[in-house]
């Protein structure tokens, strides 16, 4: 590839979120209405773009390839004689279902940019972070009477047998789901705090399932678990890929 050509590539190389994103940009560049843009042209440009990425050693996600074959299929179908009146000047447009997909996708892209505006506007407002000690003379005050405490204990003693039944909560939250989720999180970063694996107010079931998932993953050596100090935050690392950080050396025990 000539120097000139590769320079041109660098200029036009954008990060496309997916095949629909790329297609949309090609269509936009043609300055034609989406219903009028010739299928052949878009297909050609799309494939040329993939070739360019390939020549730059950029890994192409399988979805891009899939779309290329989809476009080629549409194109070859359009070339077959349809039996209807032949018009030499007829240029086959994009198939309607693809147009629809693109328009639907574009809707959310537009929504995304409106969200971005909101995000940026909102990031200009700052909230106070309240330190616990700031509410100075507010003594900690538990809404728990001595009787509540006793009753809790008595209930536990009484319900030793029923505990097993309560544990059937597992149905709702699958350990395998939590494993998949933890792995997904860890695939994008080196480590994560145990507590960060939960959304607001996790249910007991989610916590238990996560706990079991972590144990399972640890057993399979797919993660490592580290706690800097007793009752410190539990941090989960990708298997085999964790380096002991300076703070970690203070591990108490």
């Amino acid at each position: 590839m000539s120097v000139l050509a590769s320079e041109k590539c660098v200029i036009t190389l954008e990060k496309f979120e997916g095949p629909l994103d790329l297609l949309w940009n090609l269509i936009r560049e043609s300055r034609l209405d989406i219903t009028e843009v010739p299928l052949a042209l878009v297909t050609e440009q799309y494939i040329a773009y993939l070739r360019m990425m390939e020549s730059l050693n950029i890994q192409i996600a399988s979805e891009f390839i899939l779309m290329a074959s989809e476009l080629l299929y549409y194109k070859s179908k359009a070339l077959l004689p349809s039996g209807e009146m032949e018009d030499d000047y007829f240029v086959p447009p994009l198939p309607p279902d693809l147009v629809e997909r693109l328009l639907e996708y574009k809707k959310y892209q537009a929504a995304a940019s409106s969200l971005r505006e909101k995000f940026e506007k909102q990031s200009d407002c700052f909230f106070r972070t309240i330190e616990q000690g700031e509410i100075k003379d507010a003594e900690m005050y538990l809404e728990v009477s001595l009787f509540d405490l006793l009753k809790a204990f008595s209930d536990i003693i009484d319900s030793q047998e029923t505990i097993e039944q309560e544990e059937i909560v597992f149905d709702e939250v699958l350990v395998s789901d939590r494993i998949a989720y933890i792995e997904a999180v860890l695939s994008s970063c080196e480590s994560v705090l145990f507590t960060d694996l939960f959304s607001d107010n996790p249910t007991k079931a989610v916590i238990i399932a996560s706990f079991l998932a972590i144990l399972e993953l640890a057993k399979m050596c797919r993660i490592k678990i580290l706690q800097h100090r007793l009752f410190g935050e539990i941090r989960i690392f990708q298997g085999g890929a964790y380096n002991v950080s300076p703070e970690a050396e203070h591990t108490a025990d």
Binding site: A61, A111, A112, R116, S123, C125, F127, D200
Partner: protein, 218 residues
């Protein structure tokens, strides 16, 4: 329960619904009763302000209803008057209605100076893909990963995991589809980061769509 009783003792009569309504009717007369009522409202207003100030998170109307035995309309009127006051005053502080509640924040006007002086970090930007995924989840929640993939034409698993890590989305149940996949929705933090009070405050997709095939990307 006893806290409620205690509460009633502190604001002996005016907070009962009936009484309050009666007193409202008399407000024009400027009699001693209406004076009490006004004094009480000022008192509550100050108290609400102090409570919101002390709270580290948005306080919903229900918080005031629960803690002050006041009815929701009355609570909203009082808080709205505070919001308006800070708005008109146009100082460094605003009372914002955000993420289903009310919270004090600094005026956006001073963002740059505050960042510099207080050493505040600019909030990490969200990537294009994350915003795309987030907007699909925001508008179509509850939605499964497969459905997001279909809309975006590309695998969104990583985006979903990242958005979860940022606590912008969370699993909200399961879809009645083969395999009962998890369905995702937005969190209260999402509302907070995007300055929304509730999810229905998002602009309608049809309104945004008008921009769609103009040069909106420029």
């Amino acid at each position: 329960m006893s806290p409620v009783e205690k509460n009633e003792n502190e604001y002996p009569e005016s907070l009962g619904d009936d009484e309050a309504g009666e007193l409202d009717d008399n407000a024009e007369e400027d009699g001693p009763d209406s004076k009490d009522e006004r004094g009480n409202e000022a008192e509550l207003r100050g108290l609400f302000e102090a409570v919101i100030f002390l709270s580290g998170e948005p306080l919903p109307i229900s918080f005031f209803v629960k803690n002050f035995g006041i009815d929701p309309t009355q609570a909203k009127i009082i808080i709205d008057s505070l919001v308006d006051e800070y708005e008109e005053r146009d100082g460094g502080i605003r009372l914002l209605e955000i993420s289903k509640g009310y919270q004090f924040a600094t005026s956006a006007r001073y963002a740059d100076q505050l960042r510099r002086i207080m050493g505040l970090e600019r909030r990490e930007k969200l990537s294009k893909g994350m915003l795309e995924t987030l907007s699909i989840i925001a508008y179509k929640q509850p939605i499964s990963i497969a459905e997001i993939d279909a809309l975006r034409g590309v695998s969104s698993r990583m985006m979903v995991a990242n958005l979860m890590k940022k606590n912008l989305i969370k699993p909200v149940g399961r879809k009645e589809l083969p395999g009962r996949p998890l369905a995702y929705g937005t969190t209260d933090d999402f509302l907070k980061y995007f300055g929304l009070n509730k999810i229905s405050d998002l602009p309608k997709l049809s309104e945004i769509k008008e921009l769609a095939f103009g040069g909106d990307d420029q």
